[in-house]
């Protein structure tokens, strides 16, 4: 039995799991920053405050 498919599958799946775990907070932080900036722009253009 060739071991290569098992080895590469193990590395591939681990890479996907760790990559997603690493990228997801970065994506969420950038989305959060964008939302916060939009909120700040609305605040500047209209009445009321965020704080």
């Amino acid at each position: 039995m060739s071991h290569a498919p098992f080895i590469w599958s193990a590395y591939g799946i681990t890479a996907i799991i760790l990559l997603w775990t690493a990228i997801s907070p970065v994506l969420r932080l950038s989305r959060f920053k964008r939302d916060l900036r939009q909120l700040a722009d609305q605040e500047q253009s209209g009445p009321g405050t965020i704080t």
Binding site: M1, H3, A4, F6, I7, S9, A10, Y11, I13, T14, I17, L18, W20, T21, A22, P25, V26, R28, L29, F32, K33, L36, R37, A40, I50, T51
Partner: protein
């Protein structure tokens, strides 16, 4: 110099550091500076470890090439336990001293620990098929590691079940603390029960692995520590920013980077 100031007891540098870490703006600023360096250390070490493990280490005389799965399976399994242990310690600190940063760090650890546990279980199954002839057996080590994954998922589920983040974190920290009882079970399972999973090849006193195979494993183990630190701080920063959405310091840090001395250089987009 003022004599009164001279007689003041000097604060221990470590205590001072922990006091500072409890301050959200200080923690946010410092972690933002550390994260890129931690990611860089992870990438460099992982590349070295993978190169040595996949291309330089000789095949095992019994397992053949499939032993190379060890270079991801073993560090992932170690991390799954280490992260849970740290999560429980931070949970204890959060419950006893009500330190918010400790709550945030405990809750930010859970997804990273769950990812490592999942990686350890899957890579272990893919190693088990060519070596044992089965992807899964209800062996004490494998079963207790699966229970660890469920504990991580339980902590995450409990944290997300509450609307109020601090109440959610306290409930989840308590579960994390109770679940820590599983750690010695995982560690000693190969000694307490007759298991198919092999015993430990590395201990404090030495290792039965040849140095050509051992060094890539140690490098990968170190790389995963940097991965955890970088990922933990990234998640903690996000959680802190979300919790402090209405506070002035986070709006300065994220919306008006130029106004903030902590973030001015890094948050410009």
């Amino acid at each position: 110099m003022n004599r009164k100031q001279d007689n003041k007891p000097r604060k221990n540098a470590l205590i001072l550091f922990f006091h500072k870490m409890g301050s959200p703006p200080w923690f946010y600023g410092l972690s933002g500076k550390l994260v890129p360096w931690l990611w860089a250390a992870f990438v460099v070490l992982a590349m070295c470890g993978l190169y040595l493990g996949l291309f330089r280490a000789p095949p095992d005389y019994l397992q053949g090439e499939s032993f190379r799965i060890m270079y991801i399976h073993v560090p992932a399994a170690w991390m799954s336990m280490m992260i849970y242990g740290l999560m429980a310690v931070m949970g204890f600190i959060a419950l006893v001293w009500r330190i918010r940063i400790a709550e945030i760090l405990a809750m930010s650890s859970a997804p990273v620990g769950a990812a490592f546990t999942l990686a350890a279980l899957i890579s272990g199954a893919l190693w088990g098929r060519p070596t044992w002839g089965a992807y899964w057996v209800w062996d004490a080590r494998l079963t207790s590691e699966l229970v660890l994954l469920f504990l991580y998922l339980g902590v995450l589920g409990l944290y997300n079940a509450f609307d109020e983040p601090r109440k959610a974190a306290r409930a989840a920290c308590l579960l994390a603390l109770v679940g820590a009882v599983n750690l010695p079970i995982i560690h000693y399972s190969v000694q307490w029960w007759n298991t198919l999973h092999q015993g430990s090849s590395i201990s404090v006193t030495g290792s039965s692995i040849h140095p050509s195979m051992l060094w890539p494993l140690l490098i990968m183990a170190l790389a995963t520590k940097f991965y955890y630190a970088a990922n933990l701080l990234s998640r903690a920063r996000l959680m802190l920013a979300q919790q402090d959405l209405r506070k002035g310091w986070i709006q300065k840090a994220l919306v008006k980077p130029a106004d903030n001395p902590l973030e001015g250089h890094s948050e410009n987009e």
